[in-house]
Structure formats: structure tokens, C-alpha cells
Symmetry: C2
Subunit: 342 residues, 2 copies
DNA sequence: CTGAAAGCGCTAACAT
DNA sequence: ATGTTAGCGCTTTCAG
């Protein structure tokens, strides 16, 4: 409510001086600064970021687009981003991007454009060339999490390699009947993560000379319920039951394990289940996971963004080398329980 | 980048007319409007919300403060809020409020104040008198979810009644050895939800004349892992094992059930577990839950807020009756499986 | 080191 | 129905 001019009057200086004193830009004698700061505190003055943004052109606000909020991986990433952003004095404006195309366009062409955000973090969303261009033409840095996109910095694991790695792990343990329960190949999230994980699985199976057919993959909802339902149906018949399952996500792995236990199957003694997101459920379920540290990915993305935002003193044309994909290291989180007997 | 004046020049009208044509406020002949809209589209003009906010005083943006993102109840609420807000043309700025007191003050005294938000939704956070006053003095409507707070509209279930109800349900089923596994009474979230749920449980036990002692309550982390760990320790000894458990949250209930199944205990045949948040896991776990429809709570909160924001033509002093707590109805979601045999 | 003045891009009276 | 004018609250030259 109180404005810069109020502070100026109280401190008996000009508005310009107040601005300088409070923002730290420009010279102000130490004593004047103190007077100003005291006056500001006295009347509870806080700058209007609107007015400030209007003239400076930046908003101290970053937009985050993300397809899900209530899913482990995404929720964790979001938390990581939020923490890092607030720590840096930035606000976070959240846009959940549904599959709905019109809604998506609306977010890009309306919400993100009206000069509210300085930059954008896209989590698990494969921006189109057009979207990237739009944002870049507006001079807004973008960083992505979850897959490579041309024209912007991204942070991601190699989903194919991850699935391959974890499958090889099971093969190395002596398993031969291995299934993959993962996201539907039809209604795919962006980056075709599900396809990539399936691909990694298939590759590993093939190179090991193991049988891989239509029965080896089971599509499911990425949720505990989905995993549970799939698990019940897969594990029902003892004769056709796999001895190991590669789950497309932790939620799915948990659902499968619950189903297995309900059917009286011991996990991991009689069935190995591995997941990929890796949320520290390993010890509890006796499952080995590939941890991709979502929270750190969030923090890291913010760091990348802030670097750009700060360097932005000399605008645009950054070295192409910077617009690359940073691999995120995977950590095999071994179960503490004994290895399964295939 | 292109500004209102560019559109004006292109359409050969004044800036005022452009503003009117695009915002829909004020009279503009149909043909001029068409010309303006075409011109705007041609150069990809989008209003600067900063400039606009600066003069109108409102931002089309609401702040959401929430203690957790990655927890079912909160994640769902957040999704509900996001969807409703976007649909109404509002942005959502997210603040995760940690237990850290300094951080919390910072959010209230700095972030929320700099005129970025028109209103605030507080989820699961008990605003202090000071915080409510601060926001109200700034003329920002607030609505809360999760508990009653004086001076603002809130939406919440009656946690005591909920726990009582669900406990009575178990008692009615013939259980006598019932335990409550819920959040620690020490490090409490706001609204002391854990205490309230414990209280409801205790009341039901007492009125039924059932034994209630120190052993009847087990504090736990609100997470699947927490429930699992608690479950293992509670259910290990068959002689002291309860026949039913009231879980403080769905995550906890799931953890307990996983532990039970691992120990070879049939759920719900040998053990009943009930939860409160109610995320449709009922059929899968054969557990009865009390559904509180988090997503709808989010939507509803937005609706309340929007009402205020719209009525705000005649500012402030709204009838006190409006500042009440709206009860959220609970729905008993019965398990489809047969009732347990105590 | 400080002040005066010129806008940032838009909206809202007030005219016409 | 449209144009003119005066700011919203701040930052930033430009003088001094």
C-alpha cells in the first residue's frame, strides 16, 4: 500500500535515492541508506514488483510446466525446483499441462507470454520446435527435464540405457522369464518415455538371447492401482508366472509387489521386481531400483536457469555447447535383502 | 515485445480503443473491434500483465501456500486448485511452506505482499491472526482448506468426527483390539490434525468401553515407509496383534497392509485397516476409507475465492456469515470384499 | 553521492 | 463510439 514516495518523504530523500538504497544499485552513502531502510521498515514498505518489472523487464518469477503433480517423480522434481527457486528469491508459477492440445497452446500463447515469467522450466514435456522458438524469441531461457530437446538445455537420464541396465541386472542374477510392466505405448507422455524404457528392456533381452514376445510386455496405468491390477493378472497362473519384473515406474513396482504378496508369492525370494524412479522404497520392498534423484534434478535445473538469467547481461547468442543435454547419473540402489533364487 | 501502441498504429485507432476492444470493457463498434483483433493477432500482441496490473490493481494470479507437494492429499488438492484456477484465467503461484519459521515469515512478509497475488489459498496451514490480518489489510481474500481459522473462509472436514466415525465403524464390526497408527503428536503439521484424529479415535474407544492405553496409539511418519515400519513392529507378535487398525492417512494404511501381507496376515480377513484420506485404494486393499475428496476441495476453494474476487466491486466488509467454515462431507467408501472376522 | 525528469505499457475518467 | 489525458509505482539516465 505504501509506495516508494512515502518512504522518500519519510526519509527526506528523493525517490531515486530510495530506489538505489533499497535495491543496492548505485551509490548511496551508508548513513542515507540506513535512514531509508529504517523508514521503509517503519511503514512496512515492499516494492511493487509490477511497477518494478514494468521498467526493468524482468519479473523474478519462473514458470514451470509439468504434466502431473501427484506422481512421485514429478512431485519430487517440483519440490526440488520450488526450494531452489525460493532460495534464489524467485517465485514459481505452476502450469499443469494436460494432454489437451488447446489448453497447452493457451498456456504457451497466453499465460507464458504476457511477460509474467523470466524463464521456463519444462518437466517431462517435450516442447515443440515452435514452442521453443516462441519462448526464445521472447528472450526467455528454458531448461527441460526428462529428455533432449533441440535448442535448449535439458537434464535427463537415458531411459533406454536405464531400462537396459536394470534388465541386465536381472539377467545377471540368473532370471530367464522376465516381464516388463510399463506405460501404455499408445497414450504416451511426452518424450515417449514408455517406449524408451520398453526399448531398453527389449534390447537387453535380445542381446542375452532370452525369449521376448507379446507376452513379455504388459501395459498399465502408472499408478499403484495399475501395477496391482497388472500384477494380479500376470502372477495368477504359477506356470506362466515370470520370476522377475521390470516395472516402468516405482508406483507400478509397488502395486505389483502388493499383488504378489496377496497371492502368497514371496518377494524377493520368488519374484524380483525392479523399478526406475527410485524413491527409497528399495529396502522396504526388497527391490532394486535405479535412482534418478528427482529432487536434485529440480535443483540442478534451477541452477542452470539462474546461470543463464544472470549471464543475461550480455544477451542471447550463447555458445551452442551450452544447449546440450546433461546426463543425469543413475544410481543402482541395491536391496539389502538376499538376492532372489530364480 | 509488441505493445499496445503498435496495435493502435496498425489498426489506425487510439490506444484506448485497442484496450477497450481487446479487454471487452467499454463500447467499440463491431468493425473496429475486428480490425483491432486482426491487427493484434497479426503482430502476436499479448497484453503486459505488469502494466495492466499496475493500473488496475489486480493481477489475475493467486498464491497457494501448502506444506507438502508430494503427499497424496496435498497433491490432489493442488491439482484441483490448479485446474479450477487456470479455467478461470488465473495464474497460480506456489509456495511450499516448510516448518522453518523464518522462511514462513519471508513468504508472508515479502513474497505475498509485493502485490503479485490477488488472493491466497492456504492448504493445511493454520494462518496466525497476524498473517490473516496482514493479508486482509492488503485487501486480499483468503480461503483455507483443512481447518477453521478465525477471520477467513475455510473448507474442512471435522477430523475428530472423522476418526471417531471410522473407529465406530470398526467397533460395530465387532473389533475390540483396535489401534491407531498416525502422525506424531510432537512434530505436528498445522491444525494439529494428528491430535484431532487421535482424539476422535480415543473418544470412540472410550464411549464403547474398550481398552485404550499407551499401546493403542503408535506414532509414525506419514508415508508408506512409515506405515510399513510401524506395521512390522505392531503385527510381529501374534498374541498382542490388533484385529483392526485406524490409520492416520492413506499412505500409512498402505504401508501397514504391505507389512501385514509380508508377515502372512490376510487383509482384511485377519486384519482390518481403515484410512481417512480416501484415494480409491479401497477396492484394492479391501480397506474401508473415509473419502474427503481432496480434488473437489481444491475446486471448491477456488470457487469461493472467485466469488469474493468478483464481488469485490463493493470492497471489504462482507457479512460475517461468509467467514465460516464449510464442512466437507465425508463418504464412507466400503470395501467390496467381505467384512472381516474379528 | 543525490535529485529531477522521463518514461515502462497499460487503463480509466473525461471529453467529444 | 472513439480520442485525449493523466497517471499506476518504479528505475534510470542525466545533471549537478
Amino acid at each position: 500500500m505504501s509506495a516508494l514516495s512515502d518512504v522518500a518523504r519519510l526519509a527526506e530523500v528523493s525517490k531515486a535515492t530510495v530506489s538505489r538504497a533499497l535495491s543496492g544499485n548505485g551509490y548511496v552513502s551508508i548513513e542515507t541508506r540506513n535512514r531509508v531502510v529504517a523508514a521503509a521498515a517503519a511503514i512496512g514498505y515492499v516494492v511493487s514488483s509490477n511497477a518494478s518489472s514494468l521498467v526493468t523487464g524482468h519479473t523474478k518469477n519462473v514458470g514451470v510446466v509439468i504434466p502431473f503433480i501427484n506422481r512421485w517423480f514429478f512431485g519430487e522434481v517440483l519440490e526440488g525446483i520450488e526450494t531452489a527457486l525460493i532460495a534464489a528469491g524467485y517465485d514459481l508459477t505452476l502450469y499443469r499441462l494436460s494432454a489437451d492440445d488447446a489448453a497447452r497452446r493457451r498456456v504457451f500463447e497466453y499465460f507464458l507470454v504476457r511477460k509474467r515469467v523470466d524463464a521456463v522450466i519444462a518437466v517431462g514435456i517435450e516442447l515443440t520446435r515452435t514452442e521453443v522458438d516462441l519462448l526464445r524469441s521472447l528472450g526467455k531461457p528454458i531448461v527441460g527435464i526428462g529428455g533432449a530437446v533441440e535448442g535448449m538445455a535439458t537434464l535427463s537420464i537415458d531411459d533406454v540405457a536405464a531400462a537396459e541396465l536394470i534388465t541386465e541386472l536381472l539377467i545377471g542374477l540368473g532370471h530367464t522369464r522376465i516381464m516388463h510392466v510399463g506405460g501404455s505405448q499408445q497414450k504416451q507422455v511426452d518424450f515417449r518415455v514408455h517406449s524408451q524404457r520398453l526399448k531398453g528392456f527389449t534390447q537387453a533381452m535380445r542381446s542375452a538371447g532370452l525369449r521376448y514376445d507379446d507376452e513379455s510386455f504388459r501395459p498399465t496405468d502408472i499408478s499403484i492401482e495399475g501395477g496391482y491390477t497388472a500384477g494380479l493378472s500376470i502372477l495368477a497362473d504359477p506356470r506362466s508366472r515370470p520370476s522377475a519384473i521390470v516395472a516402468g515406474a516405482d508406483e507400478v513396482a509397488i502395486g505389483i509387489i502388493i499383488a504378489a504378496r496377496q497371492l502368497g508369492i514371496q518377494v524377493p525370494a520368488q519374484l524380483s521386481v525392479v523399478g526406475i524412479d527410485g524413491h527409497d522404497l528399495a529396502p522396504m520392498f526388497g527391490l532394486t531400483t535405479l535412482a534418478q534423484h528427482p529432487k536434485s534434478q529440480g535443483t540442478m535445473a534451477v541452477r542452470l536457469l539462474l546461470d543463464e538469467l544472470t549471464d543475461l547481461t550480455e544477451p542471447l547468442d550463447r555458445p551452442a555447447s551450452n544447449w546440450n543435454t546433461f546426463p543425469v547419473s543413475l544410481e543402482v540402489r541395491q536391496s539389502t535383502t538376499a538376492p532372489p533364487l530364480p
